[in-house]
């Protein structure tokens, strides 16, 4: 008979620290990805998963350090690192019982890679990608440490992150490989680039929520029987921030960031005209030769209006959070959220005023991501309070669960 593995009701503080490291590494990845788009260097390395025919980790330093290759290849290597961290985070969070599913997934990926190589030698790169991630997953499955799983919610989040990180890596590859494909009036590069960017934000939120669920504070959040004032502003604010990120994403990939170069008016009007003559006049103010479309102008205006709405919602959520006692997590979160959105608003203005300087535009993406994370945490904690007001907390660790289960 094998030794029982204890169910962990309070995860190891080291697991929380490791999850925090993964979340920070993901934030770093979002920043580098943002820089790649800001600088327009996404296609500096024309092939994937190889780089100029070299393996991911075998690119000569002299090539890596050349112009936009530095940003694009660093993004790839960093993403591989995050993938590695997430696979082992899954193994750690889901405990000893995760070995079997991990082994199956790893095996399928390795066999898939070998199969690809057998079907068509030209798919060697894609095959190596599958062999690489499959190998990492198998390595995680091989870790024999008999650790207990974290609470159910954390385990589910970890498996979701495990799936998403692999999907996200593949989308990043498709963005390169299908760059010139025509898809619905645009190109594969734009379509997959936008999906990749959106999923990157979702992945960051997921990993940040996983880290929060593993923290020592999270279980206490829903315990205080307090009113939750302003919850609707929290949900509305978060939805608006997410919408704002989607609008921003579209603008970045459709080069609409400077469709309107002045503030606070737009070409001296509250809502700029978009007839052919006006659009030509706007384009003539640009140094470059690219045209400005009516859609770019309208999306830019929507981004501005949505920014004001999001700011107002977050200010109201902040005001409501002041009703909590000093030191209460929701009060702190409300303050942090307000600070973030204020900085974000300023960065948005600076992005326009600096002619979309790459570092400012990237900081705008990074702080936007943090604003979304804070909003999601806020929604989650407000939701936990609302659940708690209706009855006992059941989503963290069910008291009815046995303290030990046998490991097969």
């Amino acid at each position: 008979m094998e030794a029982p593995v204890p169910i962990s009701r309070s995860p190891s503080p080291w697991l929380f620290r490791y999850a925090t490291l993964v979340a920070l590494a993901t934030l770093g990845l979002v920043c580098i990805g943002g820089l790649v788009t800001s600088k327009g260097v996404g296609m500096a390395v024309p092939d994937w998963p190889t780089s100029f025919g070299y393996g991911m980790f075998a690119l000569p330093l002299s090539m890596w350090m050349t112009g936009g290759v530095f940003h694009e290849h660093t993004h790839r290597v960093w993403a591989s690192g995050v993938g590695l961290l997430v696979v082992f985070l899954t193994r750690w969070t889901a405990g000893h019982a995760s070995r079997k599913p991990l082994a199956w997934v790893g095996l399928i990926e390795v066999l898939g890679g070998l199969g690809l190589m057998g079907v068509n030698p030209l798919w060697k790169g894609e095959a190596h990608f599958l062999l690489g991630i499959g190998g990492v997953v198998l390595a995680a499955a091989a870790v024999g440490f008999r650790n207990a799983p974290a609470p159910v919610l954390s385990v589910r989040l970890a498996w979701a992150a495990f799936a998403l990180v692999q999907l996200q890596g593949s989308l990043g590859g498709l963005r390169v490989v299908l760059d010139s494909w025509a898809i619905g009036g645009t190109t594969g590069g734009v379509v997959f680039g936008m999906i990749h960017g959106c999923l990157g934000q979702v992945f960051l939120v997921l990993v940040a929520c996983l880290a929060l669920s593993l923290s020592r504070w999270y279980p206490t959040w829903g315990r205080e029987r307090s009113e939750v004032p302003g919850a609707r502003w929290v949900f509305l604010g978060t939805a608006l921030v997410f919408g704002q990120l989607l609008l921003g994403l579209w603008m970045r990939h459709q080069h609409a960031g400077l469709a309107i170069p002045d503030l606070p008016l737009a070409y001296g009007q509250w809502w700029p005209r978009t007839d052919a003559e006006s659009l030509l006049r706007y384009a003539s103010r640009r140094e470059g030769v690219d045209v400005i479309t009516a859609l770019q102008v309208h999306m830019h205006m929507l981004h501005r209006i949505n920014a004001v709405l999001a700011l107002c919602s977050i200010v109201l959520a902040f005001r409501a959070s002041r009703a909590h006692s000093r030191g209460h997590p929701l009060r702190r979160l409300g303050t942090a959220w307000l600070h973030l959105v204020t900085v974000q608003f300023g960065l948005g203005l600076l992005t326009v005023l600096t002619d979309r300087a790459a570092d400012i535009a990237t900081a705008h993406v990074a702080v936007g991501s943090l604003t979304l994370v804070a909003g999601c945490w806020f929604c989650w904690s407000v939701g936990a309070h609302r659940v708690h007001r209706r009855g006992p907390v059941t989503d963290i660790v069910s008291p009815s669960l046995p303290h030990t289960v046998p490991v097969r």
Binding site: K39, G40, V41, G42, M43, A44, V45, P46, F52, M63, T66, G67, G68, V69, E72, D179, S180, T187, L280, A283, S284, E287, G288, V289
Partner: protein
């Protein structure tokens, strides 16, 4: 006797071809004051590209020469060619070079099926990302100095954009035509379209990457014609 016949035949062919050859020349002028060129500052900031220049590298959106002549304008016959006639691609190979982290020339013209040589003259890598809308796009790396990659465009398309993502300020344009009657204006805005162009009336169009398009009518008589066109600053 046989030798004499051959010479006579050659002379006859030459005479016939010169009678068929036509030429449209002229000048493209810019109406209005072009905005001043700006320095491409990222070149200075790049340690490899910056090392290749001793003077600031300026943008070339409007290159205006003597008497307001506008350079880098593609000039071509838009209408008037015999319907249904097909033309074979010239054997010459236009060169698109990357020198000092800029495309040289900025604007090139080629015919469908004609080979365009894309070269990297810099001692470090570039990638050539073709953002064609009608033709098939491509993206390849040129990692060594002197590397030449020939490419052929199989459909007519104006201003096919070539960019380098390693150095994202780099852009060049290739105009692709389904006939050989085209030219690119020189630094003073002068151009000459020549070839197997019969006498007749034609519409000539001029296309500039920023100033847009303007066209004019011209009649080729005795194998020659002149047309001057004017583009407004936009």
């Amino acid at each position: 006797m046989n030798h004499t016949l051959k010479i006579a035949a050659s002379v006859a062919v030459l005479a016939a071809s010169s009678a068929m050859a036509g030429q449209i020349s002229g000048k493209i002028k810019l109406n209005g004051e072009a905005p001043p060129a700006k320095e491409i500052t990222p070149i200075k900031g790049d340690k490899f590209c910056g090392a290749l220049h001793t003077k600031p590298v300026m943008t070339r959106t409007y290159v205006v020469g003597a008497d307001k002549g506008l350079a880098n304008v593609a000039v071509y016959i838009k209408a008037g060619l015999p319907a249904g006639k097909t033309y074979s691609a010239p054997a010459s190979k236009p060169l698109v070079d990357q020198v000092g982290c800029v495309y040289e020339p900025l604007v090139t013209a080629a015919m469908v099926g004609q080979t365009v040589d894309i070269k990297n003259s810099d001692p470090f890598m570039h990638n050539v990302n073709c953002q064609a809308k009608v033709n098939k796009g491509f993206n390849f790396a040129q990692t060594t100095q002197g590397q030449v990659n020939p490419r052929v465009f199989d459909k007519a398309e104006l201003a096919v954009k070539l960019i380098c993502n390693v150095h994202p300020w780099m852009a060049g344009y290739v105009h692709v035509f389904d006939h050989p009657f085209f030219a690119v204006s020189d630094k003073d805005g002068n151009f000459t379209i020549s070839g197997d162009l019969p006498d007749g009336k034609y519409t000539v169009e001029a296309n500039h990457i920023k100033a847009g398009v303007v066209s004019g009518e011209v009649e080729v008589k005795g194998g020659k014609a002149t047309v001057n066109l004017e583009l407004a600053v936009k």
